[in-house]
Amino acid sequence: MKDNTGYIWKLGMFVAVGLGILVVAIYLIGMQKNLFGSTFQLRTEFKSVSGLKVGNNVRFAGINIGTVDEIALLTDSSVMVYLVIKEDAKPFLRVTSKASIGSDGLMGDKVLTINPGLPNSALVKNGSKIASSEAIEMQDLIAGLKKSVDNAAVITDQLAGFTYKMNNGKGALSKLISDEQFSESIKGTILNLESSSEEFAKFTWKMNHGNGALSRLVSDTGFANSLDSTMTNLKTGSKGLSENMEAAKSNFLLKGYFNKKKREESKKQAEQIKQEELRQKKLKQKLKQPKLPKDSIG
């Protein structure tokens, strides 16, 4: 009798622990699939679900908040997706929230992501429908990638041509890279430019800080004022001189000299007018002559 109870309790423990493992495993998996916690339902409509399956995770702000419960075809171009969401996430989901389908890694499962809605909009209720943004299909992505690759091929081809020309061509840029003499000349030019810019720098420094006439002309206001008054004096002086000259012209001692000079000048002017008229005449005559055909020349 003692023997019997000895093995029976061991057997009972063995079975209990074994079944316990099963129950715990089922509970944990179920909890992960939101079977036991309090949940609510949401729905959203897509044109294509891109391989989304029942049981895939629903994410909000990167956190798993639920799973895809059901996927039903409504028409030939719309699919209704029903989601089971944990009650804890309800205060953060708004009617303006948008659902989109993404991928968990490059090769991972599809994931339905809910983006936050507008802060002032109403919160979702059980069975609410939220908007969706269409998923990027892998084929579209590949098509875009193909276009980029084609462009890259054209670019690299042109780049190859360019580098060939750079290595073997005779243009300025090619010379700049490959011709030593050209580069030496450029180097010399740059050195000259450097030294001249240095000189110029010295010049401008002197201009700003020196005591020479030019420097003072540029920077010294006193000097400028003095120059201004000199100029005024000069103007007054020249006016006086001009009056003196007029007086000299009317003086009987010098009158003969001035009259002679006047006559010579008017004579010179008349001669110039005559020569100009003659030149005009000759030009008119030339234009009147008929043009010879080109072939007859030579």
Binding site: Y7, F14, V15, G18, L19, I21, L22, I26, Q32
Partner: protein
Amino acid sequence: MEEVSKHTFVLQQLRELFLAMGKATLFNLRFFRELFFPPTEWRETLKQCYLMGWKSLPLVSITGFIMGLVLTLQSRPTLVEFGAESWLPGMVGTSLIREIAPVVTALICAGKISSGIGAELGSMKVTEQIDAMEVSAVNPFKYLVVTRIVATTLMVPILVLFADLVGILGGFAGISIKGDISLISYATKVIESLDFIDIIPATIKSCFFGYFIGMIGCYQGFNASNGTESVGRAANSAVVIASLSIFIIDMLAVQITDLII
């Protein structure tokens, strides 16, 4: 003349095969008949459960632990190469629960239990103890066969669950050798990767493994011919046929699971 004898040989072989299949079918039908009609040998069933379940636990646990550890250590370099080391707990958990733990546990049970039943019943048959039971008004089929088959059918799935748990712990040990992860985050990652589709078909499959392990052992032992060498033959063929049938059931189970889900 030679051709005729070859022809006869093939026919004879076929006849023997069909005969064996017919006998096995009758044996199965008799099991179900005896199972559902009283009296039930409860005490003997519990004793067999204890012997097959509890007594196999250390062997199954050690094997499960080593399987988990080895699977982790072997998979790790490949996953590291792909930069997917974080998938290791999920991969180990799923492989163990779906396939490795049920099949390895069933194979161990085939080696330990099926051969034991075959040898035990075979020697009882050879020493005419079974006949003696019949004479003393005890139904030997009910007492020897039904109890053992029921025990294996119930105990193998529980052993598989233990192997799952210990194997996952072995996987944790394997990850801890080279990586640094807490037991809680490891367990969370394993649970995250699991689904009902992993655990329920595996448990149902294990029941079938257990049924066939017990059935084949009992059939081979119960049908041992007179003579001591037939005891060894019964034990040997019980292991071979049980192991083979485990793989066949496994293949069918995978196909059926795929069809259902």
